[in-house]
């Protein structure tokens, strides 16, 4: 490489003296440049592949923990929901009261369309009930929703998604939501529901208001004091949030694993293509040089 580059000006002068067409000269010069470029490009793609591979491994180790947490919290949430199923609680028909939508996403990206799926779902819900209030958990959905629905956001939470969500997180959020001044007809939590390792869909889970619980048809069967009802509502909200956060977290990890797997595959493809291109260009350059040397030699001999 070094010798050929050093020899180049002399060669070019020789070529010019031989009155070769200028276009050939230009293309061979471009050939030298791209060889260097391809090499740099290859190096950077290799680095990217290394990073995505590592991220995939990290995501898959986290995924097993997240899945375990999700299964635990699912049982937890379903048990808590049994009360409402047995009481046949239904969301109150909106009589002028607002709906609160809680979006359970996370802070981290690089996991495919998982956050934008949630955002799309929320936007669709906002079209139906434009005066609903929003509580956004996680930076990613906050950034997306603040562009379209910034007037509706009342709270945003950050700091989720580093680790498996804890119940302490969920209850702290539920506490803040309960302290909101306005009275909501229903609280709807939007989260990613785990379908299987490849797919997930944005789902709504309902956390009922006190009135909705009190008005449920089978409510009398439980003999709940009115005073305790507020506690039940707060607690069930925290439960539902915990469930949603844990399931969303598991979905995110699995989505990240998939996304990184695809990215590594694509990087592998690109590396292959560029290696072939690199070798081909190198050969072309060598052939070109040989041709130039031979023609130069024959010209000077003659």
């Amino acid at each position: 490489m070094m010798i050929s580059r050093a020899a180049r000006p002399a060669l070019r002068a020789g070529v010019a003296a031989a009155a070769r067409p200028a276009t050939l000269n230009a293309s061979s010069a471009a050939g030298y440049a791209t060889l260097r470029e391809i090499e740099d490009r290859l190096k950077s793609i290799r680095n990217i592949e290394k990073i995505t591979k590592t991220m995939k491994i990290v995501a898959s180790t986290k995924l097993t923990r997240a899945q375990k947490a999700m299964n635990d919290s699912k049982i937890y949430g379903q048990t808590s929901n049994t009360v409402f199923e047995k009481a046949e609680t239904k969301p109150l028909e909106a009589d002028g009261k607002k709906t609160l939508i809680v979006v359970a996403s996370s802070d981290k990206g690089l996991c495919g369309g998982i956050h934008s799926g949630l955002t799309r779902k929320v936007r669709k819900m906002m079209l139906e009930k434009p005066d609903s209030d929003l509580v956004v958990i996680g930076e990613k959905c906050k950034a997306q929703l603040s562009r379209s629905n910034n007037k509706n956001i009342v709270f945003s939470f950050a700091g989720v998604g580093k680790d498996v969500p804890t119940f302490a997180d969920a209850s702290a959020i539920a506490d803040q939501v309960c302290l909101l001044p306005s009275d909501y007809a229903s609280v709807q939590i939007v989260y990613n529901k785990w379908a299987n390792a490849q797919s997930y869909d944005a789902t709504v889970v309902e956390a009922f208001s006190e009135e909705a619980i009190a008005q449920s048809p089978n409510f009398a069967a439980f003999e709940i004091d009115d005073e305790v009802l507020a506690n039940l509502r707060e607690y069930s909200l925290a439960n539902a949030l915990y469930w949603a956060l844990a399931e969303g977290h598991a979905c995110e990890q699995s989505a990240r694993q998939n996304a990184m797997d695809n990215a590594s595959k694509n990087a592998g493809d690109m590396i292959q293509r560029f290696t072939i291109l690199f070798n081909r260009t190198r050969q072309a350059v060598i052939t070109g040089e040989l041709v130039e040397i031979i023609t130069g030699a024959t010209a000077s001999e003659g």
Partner: protein, 76 residues
């Protein structure tokens, strides 16, 4: 039935958070460390008004402040 913690201005979630913290702290050393990790929360939050994000605050501190405020209201 009136609850002492309700009179003190705690919400139910706050009440169970305090109770669970006490339980975690009274565990044996090795189990306590693992259990206390489950009680941690590093959430930050921001209040939004008219489409603008307000100051970012630590959620645990804000909850404590809110509880204290409610307690003051309840006792007066």
């Amino acid at each position: 039935m009136a609850f002492a913690w309700k009179a003190a201005g705690l919400t139910y979630n706050r009440y169970i958070a305090v109770a669970s913290r006490v339980v975690r702290r009274s565990l044996k050393e090795d189990k306590r460390i693992a259990a206390e990790r489950r009680g941690e929360s590093e959430l930050r939050f921001a209040k939004w008004e008219n489409g603008k994000q307000g100051d970012i605050k630590n959620l645990a501190q804000a909850n404590r402040a809110a509880a204290a405020e409610l307690a003051a209201k309840a006792s007066s």
